[in-house]
């Protein structure tokens, strides 16, 4: 798989497209000694160092470069979650679709399983054959049967470990804000460790409602090993049920929370009487 990728990357870097334009660089992972880090390969680089593991949110790199270099045209070696990240970032003008070529490759079945990934392959699939979607996170699977009390216990016990390192926010490709509400003392009063429950975590959860593409980066980078993706998978489920919106699926779909009911209507209940809007199931 990796060799094929390297070969294609080499071709793409030397190719000129129909308009005579060449890619300025290909964003991918590079191994330097023991470490692997995001890198921009240019024509002529030694592609043997190009890697695809461990996963980093490469679209953040693309976004940073697009913002700082207005004319740069990049390629990116991307997995399914990278492409989905690109869709939501492009939708919010963080990446310029005109100046990006996606070189998609499919994740392996193990990787799909590890990430409980529903779509372990990108639409712009160039290398690899799509693997079967991973299973649902077991906690999420049984979540409907958990009572409020059980849920409270579960999360209190998890969130108490939080050291407020903001890693989940920093690593997340979709958290591209300059200033962050989680650092706003109006919502999260400073000076507490184990940040106030549940505000600190629900703020990000609410912001990720129409953005989280389930790339699992936040969970992997959380020093306290808090199963954040359970929270976000449940949030994505509610979003899809209530507004029929799946982040990363369609570049043209409007951000659901920002537009009117006419543009993206409520799928459940009647907006004219909010009491009719049903809650997700809760265990008794």
């Amino acid at each position: 798989m990796i060799d094929e990728i390297r070969k294609i990357v080499a071709e793409r870097l030397n190719e000129t497209d129909d308009k005579g334009a060449r890619l300025d660089g290909m964003v991918a992972l590079r191994r330097t000694g023991p470490a692997v880090a995001p890198h921009v390969f240019v024509a002529g680089d030694d592609l043997s160092t190009l890697e695809i593991n461990p996963r980093y949110p490469l679209m953040t790199v693309v976004s940073r470069l697009h913002k700082r270099l207005p004319d740069i045209r990049l390629g990116v070696v991307a997995r399914g979650c990278d492409e989905r990240a690109y869709v939501e970032m492009a939708k919010r003008n963080q990446i310029d679709p005109e100046r990006l070529v996606i070189l998609g490759f499919a994740c392996t079945a193990e990787e799909a399983l590890e990430c409980y990934c529903a779509e372990p392959f990108p639409k712009n699939l160039v290398v690899g054959t799509p693997a079967a979607p991973g299973p649902q996170n077991p906690i999420v699977a049984k979540y409907d049967t958990m009572t409020l009390a059980e849920r409270r216990a579960f999360w209190k016990q998890q969130f108490v470990k939080c050291i407020k390192c903001y890693g989940c926010r920093n690593i997340c490709p979709e958290c591209f804000c300059e200033a962050c509400a989680m650092e706003d003392k109006a919502w999260v009063e400073p000076g507490f460790l184990a940040p106030p429950f549940p505000a600190f975590h629900l703020i990000r959860a609410m912001h990720m409602a129409s953005r989280c593409i389930a790339c699992r980066q936040c969970e992997h980078t959380c020093p306290a090993h808090i199963p954040l993706t359970v929270l976000y998978d449940l949030m994505r489920r509610d979003m899809e049920a209530l507004l029929g919106y799946v982040p990363g699926a369609d570049l043209a779909a409007l951000p659901p929370l920002s537009v009117t009911l006419e543009q993206t209507p409520l799928l459940l209940g009647d907006a004219h009487d909010p009491a009719t809007i049903p809650l997700a199931p809760i265990g008794r």
């Binding site: 591209f176 804000c177 300059e178 509400a181 109006a186 409007l254 951000p255 920002s258």
Partner: protein, 586 residues
């Protein structure tokens, strides 16, 4: 300019004028039958023959065709002329003995009996050719023309058969001096198109119209109908109104224009509509011609109305007893709970009119006489003095008796007992309500509606002409029932409010607007989608708010994930402070 002497006096004439033109312009009476100002002179009836003296030679010529040359002397009443006209009228009268126009003209020249035997006593056509010319030259439908020759000459469609080309415009019936042509309405066939009949396509809508100028009904106007029928090939049919309009104020090319006006403010003065009394069956509205609404009574007593202002029953007789019922559909939970405010006073006026015009007994059923205005009470007393019987109680039911009389049943609160009165006419002072399309208007201008359906004013007491939407004002009954003085005052206030905005150059807007901290904004664009007033635009990748458009709703403040948008009022801190404040107090 030519100079000519007519009957001894000198007149001026243009080169293209005929003797008849000059005479008609200066009020010299010359009889004509086959002449029409909008058409070329034809010279068939010869009635306009006058004596023309030129270079000493006197000849008889038809005034309608003879040019008004310079130096002519014309005698319009000389004996020779009189003889010619007299003989001509004899001939015409013999041809058409029973045509009034001919009889009158003949009488002017001393011919009372037809000098010769009449072939066809019903003959009305004098073959003047006006109908043929109007049909061919003006309407350009080319339907009728002369056929046969000499004494057998007659007018008709080809082969005197029905033709599909006749557009039923009725022009021929209008120009025919003797009424020999009339429009026959056929069920199907030739006149399947909208038959105009002999009414004109240009008319003044009503005497009180503002501005009181004529309008053209393009469905009936021949010019437009020919344009449609020939899809543009015949574009200049008729145009008689244009040729005869001295102020040449007629322009056929005017089009309805839909003007997109960008205005600063709008005054919604959409008024009211009459509530339909059929909705409550107890008034039996519609079951007798003598049960009429107040509006219909106004039309009846209007001098320009169908009866010229007389109050009459359908058989033309004057009513002897009239009942007037207040609060029909008002102050009634089955219709409108509110009081329509204006009915009491106009009902009193109606009572006065009935007394004044017919002397009939008047019974006025009212619950409370709301004569609140200046001079209203005095009028109420005066009407009572005029002998109107005031019954304090709601007129509950109106029954139509077999003999056509109307029985009004109600309660007399003063006497404390039920009452029934048989009258000839019942006037229902019906409620007024918001126009049927008020929903569309409120959606268009973002107007709220009060429970009673009228548009919602910003504040019932303090801001009666403003609405919650800046720049949109209300005037008149759109905001709620009011009589003329109140409407005028209300409208004046609305205009003042608008004028207040006009002359100020810049406008003071509410400070509650939002502002973007460009450093924190990452340009994600969610706020652009949220703003209902499109006040937020993307400038160099970052959001920017146009303060003039921003109404301060704060939706964008709540939408911005990074809190880059601050509202100048109702800031997050202020609200949080209130949260802490109220909770601390409780």
């Amino acid at each position: 300019m030519n100079k000519l002497i007519i009957d001894g006096a000198e007149y001026q004439a243009q080169d293209d004028q005929t003797i008849l033109d000059v005479c008609r312009q200066n009020g010299i009476e010359i009889p004509t039958l086959c002449y029409h100002p909008a058409m070329e002179p034809y010279g068939a009836c010869r009635l306009c023959t006058v004596e023309v003296i030129r270079h000493g030679w006197s000849n008889l010529h038809t005034a309608c065709t003879h040019p008004a040359w310079d130096g002519l002397e014309v005698k319009t009443q000389s004996p020779a002329v009189y003889d010619v006209r007299r003989t001509l009228m004899g001939l015409f009268l013999s041809r058409c003995p029973h045509v009034p126009v001919i009889q009158n003209l003949a009488r002017q020249y001393g011919v009372t009996e037809p000098p010769f035997a009449t072939d066809d006593p019903d003959q009305k056509c004098i073959l003047c050719g006006l109908c043929v010319r109007v049909c061919n030259d003006l309407v350009k439908a080319n339907v009728i023309n002369f056929s046969d020759r000499g004494i057998d000459r007659q007018v008709g469609p080809p082969f005197l058969e029905k033709t599909r080309d006749c557009i039923g415009c009725g022009a021929c019936t209008i120009v025919c001096p003797t009424g020999a042509i009339d429009i026959v309405l056929e069920e199907a066939g030739v006149y399947a198109e909208k038959p105009l009949g002999p009414t004109a396509a240009i008319y003044v809508p009503s005497l009180q119209a503002v501005p009181r100028v004529p309008v053209i009904d393009t469905d009936s106007c021949i010019r437009f109908r020919q344009q449609d029928r020939s899809n543009g090939k015949i574009a200049d049919a008729c145009g008689v109104c244009q040729t005869l309009c001295e102020a040449n104020a007629i322009d056929f090319d005017q089009q309805d224009e839909i003007l997109d006006l960008t205005v600063g403010s709008v005054i919604v003065a959409t008024g009211f509509e009459m509530w339909d009394p059929k909705k409550l069956s107890q008034y039996s509205y519609g079951r007798s011609p003598h049960i009429i609404t107040g509006m219909e009574f106004e039309r009846l007593s209007n001098a320009g109305g169908p009866t010229g202002g007389q109050i009459l029953l359908s058989d033309g007789s004057k009513p002897k007893r009239v009942a007037i019922i207040h609060c029909v559909g008002s102050r009634d939970h089955n219709a409108h709970a509110y009081c329509s405010r204006i009915c009491c006073m106009y009902s009193l006026k109606h009572a006065h009119l009935v007394r004044d015009k017919t002397g009939a007994e008047v019974y006025e059923f009212y619950m409370d006489m709301r004569a609140f205005g200046k001079g209203y009470e005095e009028f109420y007393e005066r009407v009572q003095e005029e002998g109107v019987t005031m019954v304090r109680g709601r007129g509950a039911v109106v029954d139509v008796l077999p003999n056509g009389k109307l029985r009004v049943k109600g309660e007399d609160a003063d006497l404390g007992k039920l009452l029934a009165v048989d009258v000839d006419m019942v006037v229902l002072s019906t409620a007024i309500e918001a126009p049927h399309d008020a929903d569309k208007i409120s959606a268009l201008f973002g107007l709220g509606r009060t429970a009673d359906g009228w548009f919602a004013e910003a504040h019932p007491k303090l801001r009666p002409v403003e609405t919650n939407t800046d720049g949109v004002f209300l005037a008149g009954c759109a905001q709620g029932p009011k009589d003329v003085p109140d409407t005028v005052a209300h409208a004046g206030a609305a205009s003042a409010a608008v004028l207040g905005l006009l002359d100020r150059g810049e406008v003071v807007i509410a400070p509650t607007v939002a502002e973007v901290n460009r450093d924190d904004c990452v340009g994600c664009g969610d706020c652009l989608l949220v703003c209902p007033y499109t006040a937020i635009t993307r400038v160099e990748g970052k959001a920017q708010i146009n303060a003039a458009l921003c109404k301060g709703c704060g939706t964008c403040v709540a939408t911005c994930p990074s809190g880059a948008i601050m509202a100048l009022h109702f800031t997050d801190d202020q609200i949080v402070a209130q949260i802490d404040g109220v909770l601390a107090w409780a």
